[in-house]
């Protein structure tokens, strides 16, 4: 199996794995980790497509690569914003959970 295909299938697995973490973890930081795993799975799909598009002496198509570089930076911005939201939730409710989950707030 080519490394491109391997990355594509790995990306598919990571998306499912991250989604599961996002859905089932009550702890909000664990949800953020799940979301990031899911996101990097999506990036790997781009990697698979870039690798398959290797041509003109390049090992991978530069367009999907540039999209992923942009994506990684934007994903970090979103993660930093999510962590700030989380810290605000902790300050307001005393715990890193959605208020509905424990009925306390």
């Amino acid at each position: 199996m080519s490394v491109g295909m391997l990355a594509g299938l790995g990306g598919a697995a990571l998306i499912g794995l991250g989604l599961y973490g996002l859905l089932t973890h009550p702890h909000l930081l664990r949800k953020i980790i799940g979301f990031n795993v899911m996101g990097s799975g999506v990036f790997l799909l781009f990697g698979a497509i870039a690798r398959r598009g290797a041509a003109a002496g390049l090992g991978a198509d530069p367009v999907p690569q540039a999209l992923v570089i942009t994506g990684v930076v934007v994903a970090f911005s979103a993660t930093a914003l999510a962590v700030s939201l989380l810290l605000r939730v902790v300050r307001e409710t005393g715990g890193p959970f959605f208020p509905d989950d424990d009925g306390a707030a």
Binding site: P26, I33, V63, Q65, V73, V83
Partner: protein, 314 residues
């Protein structure tokens, strides 16, 4: 099976294994550490995919700065009252698992049915590259062919930061973020905080400079500089700056503002937004990258620090 194929398969298996641990680990801290290791393994996978620019970005931002952010958050929140929140019922977990398996299966089916020969823009990117004076096609896409994406991305960083700052208490607005200071006067940490920043500055500037012709660029270089800054603050050698400082706000917006200004000048001289005048593409791109590097380094550092927590005592 060739050696390369075995290597690829082992990297893939190890990456999936560590990702699984990051999702299923019992402790919060273990999950965060696993996530950071996962990011580094992922960077190796990107190298194997011949995407060295992406590998550098993933290692620096996806694993490094994100890791510092998550560790900081985990340390402040703690995991002690994890038992307080009810775990979802077994039935809910089974339904979620089935849903996730279905999503994975659907995407895997799409991956397996990708068209052959694969569509690619690589020949066009390489063909047009001499006109930009650049040697790295990825930089060409980022700063010439699809410069609008990069411009908007640099604006996203500023917007995310405004969002984070707006979570501060009214009384702390304009003050400084909480210090990531480790709290102990650890001499090894102080030593590293003094030793590494000069090296990081050289490496960061080098990454930006070579980015025009080789893997590297403003984002990779800016992240290295941001990491050095965060290290200096963790070592307690410098305090986080107050967010209403004039130089700070200038450094934050100089990159996007210069990018936008050069883009607008393109209307007059080259006939389109973000078009570079002929023969001036490379110097303009290097100028934009230099200003962007400063803005990215400051923005990433401040994003990792979080909302202002206290008024600065004059």
């Amino acid at each position: 099976m060739t050696l390369a194929a075995i290597l690829d398969a082992s990297f893939a298996a190890l990456t999936l294994l560590v990702a699984t641990y990051a999702i299923f680990a019992r402790g919060l801290f273990a999950a965060v550490v696993a996530f950071i290791s996962y990011g580094l393994l992922l960077a190796l996978v990107w190298v194997r995919l011949s995407a060295v620019d992406v590998a550098l970005t993933e290692a620096a931002i996806g694993s490094g700065v994100t890791g510092a952010l998550l560790i900081g958050a985990a340390a402040r929140i703690g995991d002690a009252d994890g038992a307080r929140a009810g775990q979802p019922k077994a039935m809910t977990k089974i339904i979620a698992a089935l849903l996730c398996v279905a999503v994975t299966a659907g995407i895997a089916a799409a991956v397996l049915s990708l068209p052959t020969p694969a569509p690619t823009l690589a020949p066009r990117a390489v063909r047009e590259l001499p006109a930009t004076g650049l040697g790295n096609p990825v930089t060409g896409v980022l700063l010439a062919y699809r410069a609008i994406d990069t411009l908007l991305e640099s604006v996203v960083l500023v917007f995310a930061l405004i969002g984070i700052w707006s979570f501060s208490r009214d009384g702390a607005w304009g003050g400084a973020p909480r210090s990531p200071d480790a709290g102990t006067s650890d001499s090894a940490l102080t030593f590293l905080g003094q030793l590494l920043p000069p090296i990081a500055i050289i490496v960061g500037v080098h990454l930006v400079w070579t980015g025009a012709d080789a893997p590297g660029g403003a984002f990779q270089g800016g992240t290295v500089l941001a990491a050095a800054w965060i290290l200096v603050m963790i070592a307690g050698l410098r305090q986080p700056p107050r967010i209403d400082g004039g130089w700070l706000r200038f450094a934050l917006v100089v990159g996007p503002a210069l990018f936008l200004a050069i883009g607008l000048i393109g209307y007059g001289i080259a006939g389109a937004f973000l078009a570079y005048p002929e023969g001036f593409a490379k110097p303009l791109i290097l100028l934009i990258e230099a200003a962007l590097t400063l803005s990215i380094a400051v923005a990433l550092g401040l994003l990792a620090l979080g909302a202002p927590a206290r008024r600065h005592q004059p």
